[in-house]
Amino acid sequence: MTEEIRGRSLWQDALARLKRNRAAVTALVLLALIVLLVTAGPWLSPWSLDEIDWDHISTPPSLETRHWFGTDSVGRDLFVRTLHGGRMSLMVGLVATAVSLVIGIAWGATAGYLGGRVDGFMMRVVDILYAMPFMFFVILLMVFFGRDILLIFVAIGAINWLDMARIVRGQTLALKQREFVEAAVACGLTAPRIIARHIVPNLLGVVAVYVTLTIPQVILVESFLSFLGLGVQEPATSWGALVNEGAQEMESAPWSLLFPAGFLAATLFCFNFIGDGLRDALDPRDR
């Protein structure tokens, strides 16, 4: 009964449509499983992240030894390391995306809504930052401040908000022309209120799609950094770092590459499918 009164928001509508998309739902379930495994999994194994099993160095997966994914070249359990790496990768993905989300939306919506000279200035700042060579920037940061996980979050987030700001600004420019914004102005509402209440909620559809595409992108960037040896520090690890290690001995111990790479690929696939599904569900048809 209460549901009948409440009315269905556009979001609820979109969710209903998303539920009908089989690929997206499968991806969601799979992703949920991965997240669950990554958070709870390491407790299931008798091994810990940096424990060395001297009896089993570079051994293939086996139930008997309780090294379910095998061990790496120094005898650490790959099951635990893969899941720990997953925690790190997902966390980088989420945190860096959240950083880029907050800065990007605030910056882009403000620039787009205020327009004129303010917009020009704000977007030139974005252009200038865009022109900086990212890798060079990250390497410099690492050299100056040492390898720090926080720094990776900041560096990746600081780069990704630029895209977000551009997308949000473009959307805001279009939204600004819409009549309900004009109506809000005619109601005497102030600019910050209009941005917060009328512009941003209408942006979230596009932003949500973009976020599902940004998270895998960020995970990839982190993997790339780790692959170059600029990412997380031992004994902590990430999927990128594990793939890097695995790749070095993939002829003698292919499992050390396959497991982390499989998890990484599966996660990226999931995010992309969810993003696709969201885009269809949030089809910008006005209703």
Binding site: I5, R6, G7, R8, S9, L10, W11, G115, G116, R178, E179, F180, E182, A183, A184, V185, A186, C187, G188, L189, T190, R193, R197, H198, P201, N202, L204, D286, R287
Partner: protein, 322 residues
Amino acid sequence: MALLEVKDLHVRFRTNDGEVRAVNGLSFSLEKGETLGLVGESGSGKSQAVLSILQLLADNGSFQGSIRFQGRELSTLDRKAMNRIRGNRIAMIFQDPMTALNGHLTVERQMTEVLEHHEGVKRREARRRAIEMLEAVQIPDAHKRIRRYPHEFSGGMRQRVMIAMALLCRPDLLIADEPTTALDVTVQAQILRLLRDLQQEFHMGILLITHDLGVVASLGDRVLVMYGGRTCEEAAVDELFRHPRHPYTRGLLGSVPRLDTPAGERLRAIPGNPPSLLALPPGCAFAPRCGERMAQCNEVQPAMREAAPGHGVACHLHGDGE
């Protein structure tokens, strides 16, 4: 003291093709509780004139002239002072209720927001008053409907919501920009009747912009016919419909389909197109399309003259005893 007094209003837009002169010396006044209909074709400047009252012109537009509201000059107010008047003392309803409501917010949120902003009332109180106003615009089950989203309302219902939103702060002046254009004819009649009732209840002035003479006939007290950004005729509704004097007004009235028109007779349209606002003719703006054009029409701009008590017309046919 008139509720709203506009004197010698000019609106200009800077464009790449040059300066567009949308409004050129428009003057009118509106009393409390009165309805003034601004009638004209697309591009006659009626919407822009009204937008400049609320300072809602597009970024490339600017206006000159005096706009006095309750004796207070609006044209010199800064944005902050203007925001206190918008939606509070002067409210506006828009043409298309489909796009003028935010689809991501419930009707309740959109309505309470205005009250919270202008009067600083608490959410609960704002909600109570919003429901009251929805009931005033005859939305059934207002206390339930208020929690719904705009897309769950029909077009007529949405326009009612828009009207309720505009009336929340009990404004003294309501600007209605083609309030019924986007609606079905039957719904149109309901909305017009509603507006008339509400006007009596709240005793506000209504500035009604429309291109539909039928709408003016059913709601207006006085009519102002605009062409090329100027007034060409202004009179009480009955007077104007009975004795239209300006050739343009006569043309407009002649182009309305009527039930008593003999079958098979063609509808008379006014020949030609509205003038380009980039380069208005030096004389009467309507001269190129006018069937009763005289020599001086092309050179001298006709001044506003009183053709009958309360009936002003700007046309050389009715000037200087010619």
